[in-house]
Amino acid sequence: MKSAVVLLPGLNRDRDMIAALTKISGTPPITVWQTDTEIPDVDLITIPGGFSFGDYLRCGAIAARMPVMRAVAEKATKGVMVIGVCNGFQILVEAGLLPGALMRNTSLKFVCRQVKLQITNANTMFTRRYQPGQIIRSPVAHHDGNYFADAETLRRLEGEGQVVFRYAEGTNPNGSINDIAGIINSQGNVLGLMPHPENLIEAAHGGSDGRALFESALGIAA
């Protein structure tokens, strides 16, 4: 399985993502730059976290309009897996590849801590190595992770099992509607989540709860 990491100015978790993919798959991912109009043949494209373009206008708004995102959208239509983490999630919603919007945390504070996530759908290409309902730990670090969608979109997301991760046990750090931490598109091949599973993949991180997400996507046995 081959993977790629999208690089944009202002992202700062790109090296974490590259390290995680390299350690888990044994092969370094290909990197693609914001101006690239084509992405090589890969099975998984990841968009890391950070503050692309200083998060000017709205988080992820400028990044979502860069040429590379048209290439990501084309690949997603063809069924290639896409994971957007944190700013990557914001970019995916701004690009229209996932529904809804990510707004300022209700506390108005930047949150940097560990939360608990419940796997609310373990029947996806990103979560099949987890148990249904399993609670995992994951770091979060964001100012705008407050997921919002209109009532109809929310009904569809909940009804179709598109809510994949939910903040568990009162750990919702941002006021996200229905405690939503991560969602997939209706096709099931695009995932966006605010937490950082790539920062919890080995003992040196204090745990490996996030590892199974990448093992699921990359088809690697635990």
């Binding site: 708004a61 309009r65 919603v93 701004e94 209700t106 506390s107 108005l108 919002f148």
Partner: protein, 80 residues
């Protein structure tokens, strides 16, 4: 040259934590009777265009494509 002012506001029903904080701060300053406060954005745009109708269409397209996130925001365009 056409100058325009674009105003972007949050749709009704969309939670506005920043507006809420401003609302509380105003009350804290002693301003009585402050109701709901909603925060928005204003863009002043200059366009090298003389056709008003064309400019308005372009400005609306700019809003739809970038300046507003129509999932959560409304916009209005005023040519000044």
């Amino acid at each position: 040259m056409i100058k325009a002012r674009i105003t972007v506001t949050l749709k009704n029903g969309v939670l506005d934590p920043q507006g809420k904080a401003i609302e509380h701060a105003l009350s804290g300053l002693g301003f009585g009777g402050v109701g709901q406060v909603r925060q928005g954005k204003v863009f002043d745009v200059e366009l090298a265009e003389s056709d008003k109708a064309k400019a308005e269409a372009d400005l609306k397209a700019m809003c739809d494509k970038l300046l507003a996130n129509t999932v959560i925001e409304n916009y209005s365009v005023a040519i000044t």
